[in-house]
Point group: C2
Chain length 232, copies 2
């Protein structure tokens, strides 16, 4: 009934063309992955491995502004330098996912092209390496309306349903639950962030003991359809 969250240590620098599963292997081996383990990987190393980066040309601030506009499918809000944009994946976040933290000097990191597909590929390789069923989540750090501070959420997913669907179940008093769809993939991702740490350079974590809802979910299932959304 308890769960454990372990940092995956020993992951070195990642370059374009690297295989993300391979760079995780040394750190994972000491954790002895087993059926049902959830592996959360920051998108930063996935983007680097996939070459989803841009070399800065000219003035860095101006370059970043142009890159954000290029990456944005739609601008949702703008205030001063802050741009809240919808990405082509449907995610809504600051700067359309363009980020300098943990980027190589003179580069900026973008979101992976298809983070669900990236997660699936990493999962298949790790499942082969360790001969067990795994879940892989790719994370990013997003702000929230109304709430101060940022949290890590799932932008890519393979091996579980993104949502724990309790519709039709009852509470322990026999009432039908009002809270019925729990974004457990995001809760797992936030839990992983507690051991990863943005300053420490630990880019991945393993969560053990959580019985993930079965299914072939995608992080895109976590995007609320615009027609249902009251805050665009």
């Amino acid at each position: 009934l308890s769960i454990e969250v372990h940092p995956i240590l020993g992951v070195g620098a990642v370059s374009p063309g690297d295989d993300v599963a391979s760079v995780l292997l040394p750190g994972l081996e000491s954790l002895e992955p087993t059926d049902g383990d959830v592996i959360v990987v920051t998108h930063k190393i996935v983007s680097k491995a996939e070459g989803a980066m841009r070399e800065v040309v000219g003035d860095e601030e101006e370059f970043k502004r142009l890159l954000v506009e290029a990456e944005a499918a739609a601008v949702i809000r703008r205030r001063g330098d802050l741009v809240i944009a919808e990405t082509r994946h449907g995610f809504i976040c600051a700067n359309a996912g363009v980020d300098r933290s943990n980027a190589s000097p003179g580069t900026m990191i973008l979101l992976p092209d298809d983070p669900d597909r990236s997660a699936h590929r990493i999962r298949r390789r790790l499942e082969r390496a360790f001969d067990c069923r795994l879940v892989v989540i790719i994370s990013d750090t997003f702000g929230r309306p109304w709430r101060h501070g940022l949290t890590d959420i799932a932008i890519g997913l393979s091996g579980m349903a993104a949502i724990l669907d309790l519709r039709g179940t009852t509470d322990w008093m026999g009432h039908e639950l009002e809270v019925t769809e729990v974004a457990v993939a995001d809760e797992l991702t936030g839990a992983a962030d507690l051991v990863m740490g943005k300053a420490s350079g630990i880019p991945a974590a393993l969560i053990r003991g959580y019985a993930a809802p079965p299914g072939e979910g995608r992080a895109r299932d976590l995007v609320r359809p615009p027609g249902e959304d009251l805050f665009r």
Copy 2:
């Protein structure tokens, strides 16, 4: 470096006037609380203990509608039966926190009057009982704009800073971090939800091994000031 998340078992039904710390004691004893443990408690049992409930009078749906209006400091959005409201605490959530799940028959549960104060009281009692420094978080389940599904977040807090403030720190490449204020209290609360479960009636969890940012924070620190908020 790793953390553990344990459900707190054996918590029975809670009635007005009960002491929340006392009902947690039997389940906590077997976990042997130690310095730095984080205890997350669903607000449902705190509200019940504090009498933050209303007996339904007349038609249940109509009563709920009136109660939501009474609990709302401001209505942010409305669509059909769905009301997104700001509570007097500053939280923005569906139905101003009025909920029937896990309520006693014929009653509805409200948010605690001052969840930070409730957290502080529970913490003081548990610290005395176990002679160690603890963190206490009171949780509720909120929806998010843009993202499908709900997650548990902190609505009351005592014994830590709500936000991990990384402003001025650098990433492992030496860049100043762009993501600087992490809402770790919310990430802890979501992690706890993974072992609590809304259908199972487990109302509390203990997180061990997390070095919480020191400070006397409050969950109200997690409310984004309206003037900074682009989505009201």
